[in-house]
């Protein structure tokens, strides 16, 4: 069936695949994108169905808008999801708490939208702090690509807020849109917290509540047109693939407060917007319900990607086909990229494929503000405390950024539902119940400390073909994961800092292991409470030479000249920033290589 010859075959329709496809097509290359999931989100009607699924889901996790797809299964937050249908086979001492989406648009459908750049010191983690890995490139190498990514995603921020801990911007640079207004609760916290000092690493550090850059439409600056919701109309314009339109909704955030897992109007960026640009060139074909099953290799060249094409998510019936191009990009996120490489027997020599799996464990704290602060309003987070992302103490324990939530107690306790049901069980009803909720719900505050996790060989993704498989017979990921002393010590420090911030802001601390569904970990004489941030990375790390890495600094495979393995899996370390912005910047680097060398490495 696959008679067409493409210049570029991309596996994965998320942000990496979309950016590379759009760039390549704009330079005249013919591109095929293979996506394992369905294309439900590509029409606004289909997207609204996902919204309805979310409304009707009892557990509102990042996966809540999606129907279970046995042919492209994805992980669930532990304890949720279809019973008996767990995707990951877990081996490690710690459960793995983060998920990703196998659907067109990828995980950007349910991400929060935070777009922080990494710190310069993050790129030299090993050299500076004596553990983990160094990147083969530095902050200055990525600067121009960060700008491209910020303008493609559409990031709302003011440069003046973001110059801290060594982050610099090019002369005259501004973000495409103005920073989103901080929430009333942010401002209340700031009035108490700004300028306060905490002791970290034996020295006083000053804290500041700071606007968080976000891929979420706000008021545009000159030269930028916000992109709203995407709607794909079949046959609207040749070639038959269909023309993606921008609907007249979502051009500015309205405060739906459900960014995770679904922005009802697509004011939040998702990769469908970049995919729409790609398909508008007429040179990009997107095939959904096509699960890549093997990378075919002859010596130093990839000759094709075999994939299983299914017509109906509820039936395993499929046909096997092969996609051919001159260059190939694996872009299906950290775990799936590693899984596909392992299934294909690629790069076995150094045992690094699947190794160095990382996440950001998030230490959670929650409490009652002293007054009505209008909780549960606005984007789920508009500000954070970024001052502890860097410093000499990183030689001893993990750094962290603090995310200030606008989302009440949804994450730690499942509020307000659980507040309601607990009150009812305690005998509260009628006027008394209504007044109690009126008093308590608007005071619900939540903060989270996202901790860095250094790369460890023992944290990895492997496969056991034949033993753990999905409905199509493809291997399910076997995940081994744990938190080490470096992370746990950092988590303890973070929990202490959060208590101090709460105390300064007059927030009555209600953090309690018995009230939460999050992970609990006993460490020394305290119980640490944490969850996964959804930031999987590290599984095909980049480096400066083949012995100690899987890809080079352009995400090109060391073993195959016409193969790139792209996405957060290439990041040797994440530092403390949410990775998507860096992932997009790296995708621009890769796109340039593909365009400059369409046949592969010279």
């Amino acid at each position: 069936m696959m008679k067409t010859e493409y210049d570029l075959v991309i596996v994965g329709g998320g942000i990496t695949g979309a950016v590379v496809a759009a760039e390549a097509a704009q330079h005249g290359l013919k591109v095929l994108v293979l996506e394992a999931g369905t294309e439900q989100a590509r029409t606004f009607a289909g997207y609204q169905q996902q919204l309805a699924t979310y409304y009707g889901n009892a557990v509102k996790t990042p996966e809540a808008p999606y129907l279970f797809n046995p042919n492209a299964p994805q992980p669930d937050i532990p304890g949720t999801g279809t019973p008996g249908a767990a995707y990951f086979e877990e081996r490690g001492k710690s459960q793995f708490g983060s998920t990703y989406a196998r659907t067109v648009g990828g995980t950007t459908l349910h991400w929060l939208g935070t777009c922080l750049r990494m710190l310069p010191e993050d790129f030299a983690f090993a050299s500076r702090f004596g553990r983990g890995l160094d990147w083969p490139i530095g902050y200055d190498d990525l600067g121009p690509d960060y700008e491209r990514a910020e303008w493609e995603i559409g990031v709302s921020a003011d440069v003046a807020d973001q110059v801290h801990l060594g982050i610099t911007f090019s002369e005259g640079y501004e973000y495409p849109m103005r920073r989103l207004p901080l929430s009333y609760s942010d401002l209340r916290v700031a009035s108490d917290v700004d300028g306060m000092q905490v002791d970290v690493g034996g020295e006083p550090r000053t804290l500041l509540v700071r606007s968080t850059p976000a891929g979420r439409n706000s008021t545009p600056r000159r030269g930028y047109q916000p992109v709203g919701a995407i709607d794909l109309r079949a046959g609207y314009k040749p070639p038959g693939e269909g023309q993606a339109l921008t609907r007249d909704v979502g051009e500015r955030c309205q405060g739906n407060s459900a960014c995770v897992p679904i922005c009802p109007v697509q004011a939040k960026y998702n990769a469908l917007k970049t995919l729409a640009k790609a398909t508008a060139t007429g040179l990009v074909t997107v095939l959904t319900q096509c699960v890549a099953s093997r990378v075919h290799v002859e010596g130093r060249r990839v000759t094709g990607i075999e994939y299983l094409r299914y017509d109906d998510p509820s039936s395993p019936t499929h046909s096997a086909e092969v996609a051919r191009g001159r260059t190939y990009v694996l872009a299906c996120h950290a775990v799936e990229n590693a899984k596909l490489m392992l299934m294909s027997g690629l790069q076995q020599h150094n045992g690094l494929v699947g190794a160095y799996l990382q996440d950001h464990p998030v230490a959670l704290a929650w409490g009652m503000a002293p007054e009505n602060v209008g909780a549960y309003r606005g984007p789920l987070s508009t500000a954070g405390i970024e001052d502890l992302r860097g410093g000499a103490f990183r030689a001893a324990h993990a750094a962290f950024r603090i995310e200030i939530g606008n989302d009440g107690w949804i994450w730690p306790t499942g509020g307000p539902d659980t507040t309601v049901t607990q009150s009812i069980t305690a005998g509260c009803f009628g006027r008394q119940l209504r007044e109690r909720l009126a008093d308590e719900l608007p005071r619900h505050m939540r903060m989270g400390a996202l901790l860095e996790q250094p790369p460890a060989l023992e944290n990895r993704v492997t496969i056991e073909p034949g033993k753990y498989v999905d409905a199509l017979g493809l291997p399910r990921p076997v995940v081994t994961y744990d938190l080490d002393e470096y992370v746990l010590k950092g988590m303890s420090v973070a929990a202490r800092v959060l208590r101090e911030v709460f105390a300064a802001a007059g927030i009555e601390d209600r953090t309690d292991p018995k009230d939460t569904f999050a992970f609990k970990r006993r460490w020394r004489d305290e119980t640490l409470i944490w969850a996964g941030a959804g930031h999987l990375s590290g599984t095909h790390t980049m480096g400066s030479e083949p012995g100690t890495s899987v890809v080079d600094s352009h995400q090109r495979s060391w073993e195959q000249d016409n193969l790139f393995i792209a996405g957060p899996g290439s990041m040797p370390t994440m530092g403390t920033s949410n990775p998507t912005l860096t992932v997009a910047a790296l995708a621009y680097r890769t796109a340039r290589e593909v365009i400059d060398h369409p046949e592969g490495r010279a």
Partner: protein, 181 residues
Amino acid sequence: MPYKLPIAVAAALPAGEAQTGGRAPMAPAHLPADWPEAFLALSAELTGFSELELTATGVAPIYLGFLSQQFDDVTAEVIAAWEAIVREVAPVGRADALRARVLSDAKLGPFARNVLALWYTATWTKMPAEWSGQYGDHHDTTEVFGAAYPEGLEWRAGGLHPQGAKPTGYGSWALRPRRVR
């Protein structure tokens, strides 16, 4: 003063007999013809929202349909208990009477609390096994009424908007929140 349901709403409800949908038929209970009005009055006392506020949510038919299909016998009993309270107790004492006669009752109490949670969270939690074992398995499951989700009373009670619906507008989150009534 009983609030009359609009005719179109009343007509959309299934008739008194239980709809069994292929499951083992329940003994038909006799829901009185005006049971939607009685149910709304009872719900007002239970929830702390007026009958007008509850009707204004627009989701009463969804809950009435569910209850008459799956729990018509227990619903009839709760309504009978409520109507006795209305006959015998002055309005100011009805909350206490509800607590004493319904919420403290081993059969009616857990059911009434579930109905209360349904109004507040648009979610029905499956009745516990001990209750079903004692008072009959009504073949219910834990489910969220997605169409009713935006009208869950928890949001109104807190002066909030439902997450994912009824957005309050760009920048509204920066404003001092209104005092909740």
